[in-house]
Amino acid sequence: MNKTKYSRRHFLQDIALGGGGLIVLGTFGFRIFKDKDRNLIKAISVDFTKCAGCRTCETACSAYNHPVLINGEKMNGLGNPYYSNIKVYHFNPDVDVPVTCAICPDPPCINACPVAPDMNTGRKALYREANMIIKNDTERCIGCKQCAKACENMRGGVIYPNPETNRPERICTLCDDNPSCVKNCPFGALDFIEMPIDRQLANLAPAKIAERLIEQLYNLNV
């Protein structure tokens, strides 16, 4: 291919097809995945071409998922991004890569969980809810960190073991099916859309995504 003709559109198409799943780049990326004959789930998509790195999503996620009780009333917290389930990683040359739980069809985290399935529910400590989100049963979790390692090695590396208990945290809750990050993104970079559950998931590590974005945006030789 002629290098100068390699457009952003081509790039997006390539990365969308190769990267797959949650990483929807540009609006048409979504269309690539939409297939009526396949099972769809609702999940958060990221448009890397729109993210400006402001981290409003982190604060909104943290505020919603870490509420405070004030005079008996439950309200959003103040939103320290450290506690957010979605993370925006900044790289130099300038690109920002938001990463959150991909709600994988073949969750490496659950597969890695060594806790024996419960006789009645069939659930390990780490399990899937009806709306497909992944949860941890803190009563049964042994804090072995295998889930975090699996996510780190095979997907986006979104699971943080709690520094004291080692139990997995930062797994997207979809905020009761109305994600705060999507609602509050000032740049329309996040969307809550239907996508097939059995999509390909690879190369979700922020550094890998950043590498490809940097190559496309700032390649001096193109």
């Binding site: 400006a52 790195g53 402001c54 981290r55 409003t56 604060t59 909104a60 505020a63 405070v68 004030i70 009333e73 309200m75 959003n76 917290g77 103040l78 939103g79 320290n80 991004p81 450290y82 506690y83 993370k87 990683y89 900044h90 790289f91 130099n92 040359p93 300038d94 690109v95 920002d96 509050n184 000032p186 740049f187 922020p206 945006l217 700032y218 390649n219 001096l220």
Partner: protein
């Protein structure tokens, strides 16, 4: 922690002794000076009880001050104000060898919010490390670590090297480049390799302490006084940024302050050819459209900001260079129009190299413009300039001079001190076109058109010439207040009426703030700075503008013939003092003014 919305403490680090401690901030100071620039100045006042301290001595304090809005996701409130005693300024008639003004300079990005997440309302660095160090802060754990291997590294390389060293991309940091290490007086502090606390020599003070960087990460949360009110305000203000067809928002996203390159040039308010002209004929070559088309790839925002005025891209042509933020109005003017440079890639190269060294682009652009004018006039020759043929519009020559200044090589060792120093060096009436006030170079807004505003704005700036100062007390108070809250001036238009700063501050602190009290707090902060300067020996004769503005007429453009009338300026200045309640002979704030502003402690 009596006042909500604060931790009530400063992280105090002495690099000479290695002592690290938390210092309580008196509640009364929080109420009077709020945070950021205001609280920083008060702490500096207390740390330096005697005037004349050498700004580059271990005694000087270097403060990194977020504000009460920092660390809360209040849109466009991520500023960090760096406050110190200036290595740039000096009085016309010095009382002390090292008499200098207060310096404050703020930067956007992510550093200030993270200081607050770590549980501090500010960081104060004093002393001087024996060898290069950096400070690593993770909540209560504070370490002073060796930075020898980083010394000499440009900010571009260091930005990544530090993240590698820390092994955690979620640390936020600020740092100096080689200019600060080399004690170039006009060196600055940067974060994210581009966002700079550019003015007033903050990076030089940091370099004098052998401090390369501060990296911080925090997991803490504050408490606000009226949580529900605060959440309502937050949701309200977020909505106001989301309105469809929000033209102001679009303006910022489209070009940031670079949009002003064309409009300011048209209006005759741009610094062109060392301030000889107000209009640049080739402005479209370096303006927003040219950059959108040829250079910029992405818009970037600071913490919790919807404006995204920072533009990154790749420049190609005479030079190929990664552009982190450029040009915006100041950098595009000072290294572009002011030097008659219209080669866009060349301009981008100059900006990128300046950022990499970590130097104040306003001051260095102004200084190169001064040298170009002196060279053109034959006051200095090529030999004096180490063989550089420093002609107007010459990118290669400007670049060579820039390298020399940042490395303090040859002529650069003199030129790095700025135009006041250079005019003294070369004499021959060159002080008339040395465009500085109190030793601090003027910025990219030219004076003669709208001189009523700009001459007062620059002449009365407490850090020396400053374009963000405001041309009348009301604007100055508002600016001082924003810098103290950590709010960005670019977003101030959204913070009005039901979304006012006063309403936010009331909800956060539980202390009832009105718009009038906000104005008064701004006035208090501005006047404290003035008292700091007065104590250092600055008087009325220091509040002036360079002779060029009284003598030079624009020769082309819609504002051909524009000039400043000396008598009108003198009259405006007197009126300014009267409105401020300052003595019109000495410029000292009157005792009753100081009492009214709760600044009794400054009366000696």
């Amino acid at each position: 922690m009596a006042i909500k919305g604060y931790y009530g403490k400063i992280l105090d680090i002495n690099l000479t002794t290695g002592e690290i401690k938390n210092t309580q901030i008196p509640e009364e100071d929080i109420k009077r000076f709020i945070g950021g620039r205001g609280l920083g100045t008060k702490i500096l006042w207390d740390k330096l009880p005697n005037p004349g301290v050498d700004p580059l001595s271990p005694e000087n304090a270097l403060l990194f001050m977020p504000g009460p809005f920092s660390g809360l996701p209040i849109p466009s409130s991520s500023r960090t104000c760096v406050v110190t005693k200036s290595p740039r300024t000096s009085a016309v008639n010095p009382t002390y060898d090292h008499g200098s003004t207060v310096s404050y300079s703020n930067m956007g990005g992510f550093f200030g919010p993270e200081i607050r997440f770590a549980g501090y309302d500010g960081i104060c660095v004093t002393g001087k490390a024996e060898k290069p160090v950096y400070i690593k802060i993770k909540d209560d754990k504070v370490e002073i670590l060796d930075a020898t291997k980083f010394w000499g590294m440009g900010t571009e390389e260091f930005d990544n090297a530090l993240i590698d060293e820390l092994g955690d991309r979620k640390f936020e940091s600020c740092y100096i480049g080689p200019a600060g290490e080399n004690l170039v007086p006009m060196a600055c502090v940067l974060n994210t390799a581009a966002r700079a606390a550019g003015r007033g020599g903050t990076g030089c003070v940091m370099g004098s302490k052998n401090l390369k960087a501060i990296a911080v990460k925090g997991t803490k949360s504050l408490e606000v006084a009226n949580h529900k009110d605060y959440l309502n305000l937050l949701s309200q203000i977020r909505k106001s940024f989301k309105v469809d067809n929000n033209e102001a928002l679009k303006w910022w996203r489209y070009g940031g302050t670079a949009n002003a390159l064309a409009s300011s040039s048209r209006n005759g308010t741009q610094a062109v050819k060392n301030y000889s002209e107000g209009t640049f004929a080739d402005i479209e070559k370096i303006g927003t459209e040219a950059n959108r088309e040829k250079v910029w790839k992405r818009d970037f925002a600071c913490f919790s900001c919807a404006l995204a005025c920072k533009k990154s891209g790749i420049a190609k042509g005479s030079y190929s260079v990664m552009v982190h933020d450029g040009p915006e109005y100041e950098t595009g003017t000072m290294l572009g129009s002011n030097l008659l440079i219209s080669d866009l890639a060349g301009l981008q190269k100059l900006i990128a190299v300046s950022d990499d060294y970590g130097i104040d682009i306003i001051s260095v652009g102004n200084t190169i413009g001064f040298l170009m004018e002196a060279y053109e006039k034959g006051i200095i020759d090529k030999a004096y300039l180490d063989g550089i043929d420093l002609k107007w519009g010459d990118v290669a020559a400007s670049l060579e001079m820039l390298h020399k200044i940042c490395k303090r090589e040859g002529i650069g060792d003199k030129a790095c001190n700025g135009v006041k120093f250079m005019a003294n060096e070369i004499g021959q009436d060159s002080h008339k076109f040395a465009i500085h006030i109190k030793g601090h170079e003027l910025a990219a807004w030219n004076v003669p058109v709208n001189s009523g505003y700009w001459s007062i704005c620059y002449a009365t700036s407490n850090r020396g010439a400053c374009h963000m100062n405001g041309g009348m007390p009301q604007y100055q108070n508002a600016a001082a207040l924003r810098d103290s809250l950590a709010a960005c001036s670019f977003a101030s238009r959204w913070y009005r009426n039901e979304n006012s700063y006063a309403k936010f501050l009331t909800a956060i602190t539980g202390v009832e703030w009105t718009d009038d009290e906000i104005d008064k707090a701004g006035s208090r902060i501005f006047t404290l700075e003035k008292m700091f300067n007065y104590r250092e020996g600055f008087r009325k004769e220091d509040d002036t503008i360079p002779p060029k503005f009284f003598e030079n007429k624009f020769t082309f453009g819609d504002h051909k013939g524009a000039i400043v009338d000396k008598n009108i300026f003198a009259n405006d200045l007197d009126n300014f003092y009267k409105e401020r309640g300052w003595d019109i002979k000495t410029s000292r704030p009157k005792d009753e003014t100081l009492m009214d502003l709760d600044l009794e402690f400054t009366i000696s």
